[in-house]
Protein backbone atom coordinates (compact mmCIF):
# COMPACT_ATOMS: atom_id res chain seq x y z
CA UNK A 1 0.00 0.00 0.00
CA UNK A 2 1.39 3.41 -0.96
CA UNK A 3 0.43 6.63 0.78
CA UNK A 4 0.62 10.01 -0.94
CA UNK A 5 -0.91 13.35 0.08
CA UNK A 6 -4.62 13.22 -0.52
CA UNK A 7 -4.93 9.54 0.37
CA UNK A 8 -8.42 8.57 1.50
CA UNK A 9 -8.62 8.46 5.32
CA UNK A 10 -7.72 4.91 6.31
CA UNK A 11 -6.97 2.81 9.32
CA UNK A 12 -4.83 -0.17 8.39
CA UNK A 13 -3.55 -3.05 10.51
CA UNK A 14 0.08 -3.70 9.67
CA UNK A 15 1.70 -7.10 9.35
CA UNK A 16 5.38 -7.52 10.28
CA UNK A 17 7.28 -6.03 7.36
CA UNK A 18 9.11 -3.16 5.76
CA UNK A 19 7.89 0.41 5.69
CA UNK A 20 9.66 2.66 3.20
CA UNK A 21 9.70 6.40 3.83
CA UNK A 22 10.48 8.78 0.98
CA UNK A 23 11.56 12.29 1.99
CA UNK A 24 12.25 14.07 -1.28
CA UNK A 25 14.87 11.83 -2.84
CA UNK A 26 15.96 10.21 0.47
CA UNK A 27 14.56 6.75 1.05
CA UNK A 28 14.71 5.07 4.45
CA UNK A 29 13.45 1.58 5.19
CA UNK A 30 12.16 0.52 8.59
CA UNK A 31 11.13 -2.92 9.73
CA UNK A 32 7.86 -2.70 11.66
CA UNK A 33 7.07 -5.53 14.10
CA UNK A 34 3.29 -5.08 13.70
CA UNK A 35 0.92 -2.22 14.43
CA UNK A 36 -1.39 0.22 12.74
CA UNK A 37 -1.25 3.01 10.19
CA UNK A 38 -3.71 5.88 10.41
CA UNK A 39 -4.07 8.17 7.41
CA UNK A 40 -6.02 11.29 8.27
CA UNK A 41 -8.09 13.58 6.10
CA UNK A 42 -5.49 16.35 6.39
CA UNK A 43 -2.86 14.10 4.72
CA UNK A 44 -1.07 13.34 8.00
CA UNK A 45 -0.23 9.67 8.46
CA UNK A 46 0.62 8.10 11.83
CA UNK A 47 2.28 4.75 12.11
CA UNK A 48 2.05 3.06 15.48
CA UNK A 49 4.28 0.08 16.15
CA UNK A 50 5.82 -1.47 19.24
CA UNK A 51 9.12 -1.87 17.40
CA UNK A 52 10.16 -0.08 14.22
CA UNK A 53 13.86 -0.39 13.45
CA UNK A 54 15.96 0.66 10.47
CA UNK A 55 16.47 -2.46 8.37
CA UNK A 56 20.24 -2.26 8.77
CA UNK A 57 19.87 -2.70 12.53
CA UNK A 58 18.79 -6.30 11.89
CA UNK A 59 21.38 -9.06 12.25
CA UNK A 60 20.92 -11.58 9.44
CA UNK A 61 22.61 -14.45 11.31
CA UNK A 62 20.15 -14.12 14.19
CA UNK A 63 17.29 -13.97 11.70
CA UNK A 64 18.40 -17.18 9.92
CA UNK A 65 18.86 -19.01 13.21
CA UNK A 66 15.48 -17.85 14.47
CA UNK A 67 13.74 -18.85 11.25
CA UNK A 68 15.22 -22.36 11.41
CA UNK A 69 14.33 -22.65 15.11
CA UNK A 70 10.72 -21.58 14.69
CA UNK A 71 10.17 -23.63 11.54
CA UNK A 72 11.23 -26.61 13.60
CA UNK A 73 8.96 -25.54 16.48
CA UNK A 74 6.03 -25.27 14.07
CA UNK A 75 6.60 -28.85 13.01
CA UNK A 76 6.63 -30.14 16.57
CA UNK A 77 3.92 -27.91 18.07
CA UNK A 78 0.94 -29.69 19.61
CA UNK A 79 -1.47 -27.25 21.28
CA UNK A 80 -3.23 -24.48 19.35
CA UNK A 81 -1.34 -21.87 21.34
CA UNK A 82 2.06 -23.43 20.59
CA UNK A 83 1.15 -23.63 16.91
CA UNK A 84 0.07 -19.98 16.92
CA UNK A 85 3.28 -18.84 18.63
CA UNK A 86 5.43 -20.87 16.26
CA UNK A 87 3.50 -19.54 13.27
CA UNK A 88 3.96 -15.97 14.50
CA UNK A 89 7.71 -16.63 14.81
CA UNK A 90 7.90 -18.07 11.30
CA UNK A 91 5.95 -15.10 9.89
CA UNK A 92 8.10 -12.47 11.61
CA UNK A 93 11.45 -14.16 10.83
CA UNK A 94 10.43 -14.70 7.20
CA UNK A 95 9.46 -11.06 6.92
CA UNK A 96 12.80 -9.97 8.41
CA UNK A 97 14.58 -12.34 6.05
CA UNK A 98 12.83 -10.83 3.02
CA UNK A 99 13.62 -7.36 4.31
CA UNK A 100 17.32 -8.22 4.52
CA UNK A 101 17.59 -10.09 1.25
CA UNK A 102 15.01 -8.20 -0.84
Amino acid sequence: MGVLPGHVPTIAELKPGVMTVHEGTDVSKYFVSSGFAFIHANSVADVIAVEAVPVDHLDSNLVQKGLAEFTQKLGSASTDLEKAEAQIGVDVYSAMNSALTG
Binding site: A49, E51, K83, A84, E85
Partner: protein
Protein backbone atom coordinates in the same frame (compact mmCIF):
# COMPACT_ATOMS: atom_id res chain seq x y z
CA UNK B 1 -26.76 -11.91 11.95
CA UNK B 2 -23.16 -13.12 12.41
CA UNK B 3 -20.41 -11.51 10.28
CA UNK B 4 -18.31 -13.87 8.20
CA UNK B 5 -14.98 -11.96 8.33
CA UNK B 6 -12.02 -14.30 8.66
CA UNK B 7 -10.42 -14.44 12.10
CA UNK B 8 -6.60 -14.26 12.27
CA UNK B 9 -4.96 -17.56 13.28
CA UNK B 10 -3.70 -16.18 16.57
CA UNK B 11 -7.13 -15.01 17.65
CA UNK B 12 -8.68 -18.36 16.87
CA UNK B 13 -5.96 -19.90 19.06
CA UNK B 14 -7.14 -17.71 21.95
CA UNK B 15 -4.48 -15.00 21.79
CA UNK B 16 -5.28 -11.29 22.04
CA UNK B 17 -3.90 -8.66 19.67
CA UNK B 18 -1.72 -7.19 22.40
CA UNK B 19 -0.07 -10.56 23.10
CA UNK B 20 0.46 -11.07 19.36
CA UNK B 21 1.98 -7.63 18.95
CA UNK B 22 4.28 -8.06 21.95
CA UNK B 23 5.48 -11.44 20.74
CA UNK B 24 6.31 -9.92 17.33
CA UNK B 25 8.12 -7.03 19.00
CA UNK B 26 10.18 -9.39 21.18
CA UNK B 27 11.20 -11.40 18.15
CA UNK B 28 12.33 -8.26 16.31
CA UNK B 29 14.16 -6.99 19.40
CA UNK B 30 16.10 -10.24 19.71
CA UNK B 31 17.33 -9.95 16.13
CA UNK B 32 18.94 -6.57 16.50
CA UNK B 33 22.66 -5.90 16.20
CA UNK B 34 24.51 -4.63 19.23
CA UNK B 35 24.39 -1.95 20.71
CA UNK B 36 20.80 -1.49 19.51
CA UNK B 37 19.80 -4.84 20.97
CA UNK B 38 20.89 -4.11 24.54
CA UNK B 39 19.38 -0.62 24.28
CA UNK B 40 16.05 -2.04 23.16
CA UNK B 41 15.99 -4.74 25.82
CA UNK B 42 16.87 -2.25 28.55
CA UNK B 43 14.22 0.16 27.26
CA UNK B 44 11.49 -2.44 27.43
CA UNK B 45 12.11 -3.68 30.99
CA UNK B 46 9.02 -3.08 33.12
CA UNK B 47 7.88 -3.89 36.62
CA UNK B 48 4.42 -3.58 38.13
CA UNK B 49 3.41 -2.26 41.53
CA UNK B 50 0.19 -3.89 42.72
CA UNK B 51 -1.95 -2.54 45.53
CA UNK B 52 -4.73 -4.67 46.97
CA UNK B 53 -7.71 -2.73 48.23
CA UNK B 54 -10.01 -3.87 51.03
CA UNK B 55 -12.94 -1.92 52.45
CA UNK B 56 -12.03 1.16 50.49
CA UNK B 57 -8.49 1.31 51.85
CA UNK B 58 -5.31 0.38 50.08
CA UNK B 59 -3.05 -2.22 51.65
CA UNK B 60 0.71 -2.27 51.35
CA UNK B 61 1.76 -2.21 47.68
CA UNK B 62 3.84 -5.08 46.33
CA UNK B 63 6.15 -5.09 43.36
CA UNK B 64 6.09 -7.67 40.62
CA UNK B 65 9.47 -7.46 38.91
CA UNK B 66 9.40 -8.83 35.39
CA UNK B 67 12.39 -10.07 33.45
CA UNK B 68 10.96 -9.25 30.07
CA UNK B 69 7.90 -7.60 28.66
CA UNK B 70 6.60 -10.78 27.14
CA UNK B 71 6.07 -12.45 30.48
CA UNK B 72 4.39 -9.35 31.86
CA UNK B 73 1.71 -9.48 29.20
CA UNK B 74 0.54 -12.83 30.48
CA UNK B 75 0.05 -11.68 34.07
CA UNK B 76 -3.65 -11.91 34.83
CA UNK B 77 -4.72 -10.14 37.97
CA UNK B 78 -7.90 -10.78 39.84
CA UNK B 79 -9.18 -7.26 39.44
CA UNK B 80 -11.75 -7.32 42.22
CA UNK B 81 -10.10 -5.18 44.88
CA UNK B 82 -6.72 -4.77 43.23
CA UNK B 83 -5.24 -1.65 41.73
CA UNK B 84 -2.19 -1.89 39.53
CA UNK B 85 -0.38 1.36 39.88
CA UNK B 86 2.94 2.77 38.81
CA UNK B 87 4.06 0.64 35.92
CA UNK B 88 7.71 1.48 36.13
CA UNK B 89 10.07 1.72 33.21
CA UNK B 90 13.69 1.40 34.07
Amino acid sequence: MASTAAVPFWRSAGMTYISYSNICANIVRNCLKEPHKSDAIAREKVHFTVTKWSEGKPEKPSKIPTLNHQSSVSIRLDLAGVSCAGVGLS
